[in-house]
Amino acid sequence: MDDLEISTRAYCKIIMHCAKYPSCNVNGVLLTHKSDLKNGRPTKFCDAVPLCHLNTGLSLVPEIALAQVSGIVGAAGTVISGFYHAHDNLKDNHVDVFSQKIADKIAENQDGAVLVTIDSKRLALKIQNDGLIVRHNVAEGAWKLSEKKLKLEHESITLACASALVREGIFRELVDFDNHLDDITQDYVN
């Protein structure tokens, strides 16, 4: 069983997104290079695009965002291969209906898409382990915990990098799609 890998860039962006909006639900998509697709399924996640932190229960902004991101990634040789989300409540790890529906949509267009839940309890100033819960789609609307392990691209160095970004306050410069809608000069691809 092949393991999945997530790049430092993608992982750090996810952590920065969570750090920037600790009191909100956040979500975003994961990207994979077309060359990293094996049998049409993603093996490595090269980048992440942070989407929303406001009103995550409403469908308008994710719809626009997914359409925009699909437009960009096609040209860049990547595909949308996953969806990540985190809850505002520290202890909450469940997959809410909304995230599941968006992930279903992504899975319709991409085999082997993953749904990643951030386990907020495992995040800390000095991150010890990746804190990601990965699920795979088994059927329409059903996401099961993945048997594949999700590795970090550079293991402990990735973790140290993410910790440093939070410590130095650099996460404040991350732009997500909601920020972009408030000021379209801001680039959500970062």
Binding site: S23, N25, N55, T56, G57, L58, S59, L60, V61, E63, I64, A67, Q68, G71, I72, G74, A75, N89, K91, D92, D96, V97, F98, E168, G169, L181, D182, I184, T185
Partner: protein, 289 residues
Amino acid sequence: MLQRMSLTEVKDILKTWREDNSRKSDEIIEHWEDTIREEIDDLGEEKWMILEQVCVAGFDTYRPDVVEDTLYLLIQQFTPSSLRVKRLIAMRYEMREEWGEALEVLDQILEEDEANSSARKRKIAIYKAQGDTSKAASELTKYLRVFQSDQEAWQELCDIYIQEQEYNKACFCCEELLLHNPHNHLYHQRLGEIRYTMGGTDNLENAKQYFSQAVKMAPSNMRALYGLLLTCTQLATNPKCHKKKDYAKIVFWASKQISARYNHAGLTDKQSKLPVIEGLMSQLDVSGK
């Protein structure tokens, strides 16, 4: 790291954040550590408000050390019998997740002062933190029967209902907000988004009206422009639709506005923006004019 600022500049920023009710807790702690802590006695009349602000920021960022420093000074000045100080003591229990103790202190405040809205709101916040959203919602509803003009509460209830997917109730809350603020384009846009999420022709028609109103008030509201675009596209591509031409006109207008905004922002080289609109336009063509 924030640049070192003078005490006056820091005081002004903190005042702005107090007035706007901004939640910039980690920045407040940084200011405390860089500037304020050494110069507490020079803070003048705002000293106690600033200490309270820093204390709350300490709760938000889990800094028991900051909390102890600030709360100590506040208790010394105002004694623990002050209701405002009691609320902070309750929040300290909240920070430690000692929910029972926190609720006890809040109940004490309410015994002394039944109309104390901030204590009632803290209780609701505790239920939310415990994950008991239905209890939070029912307490908030009870609260709003008494304090009907508390907009922060209506917003919070609206958010809770959206998360629980009780969109009809969320609409009701948002409509209350609109009653209080009929000229706020953000509430029109929010209602439009809720109606759009609910789906169905009637709701989409409704959404279109709210988005149109939002755009009329604030032509630069991107969410409202996109909202108009997507809503009218969906309405136009509905096989039972009788007003295709009218919706199509709105779609073209909205897409022109969006393109113009991107051009204006100097993003003409980002060809990526156009495929979205082209995709939607082609949907209209396919359905037959």
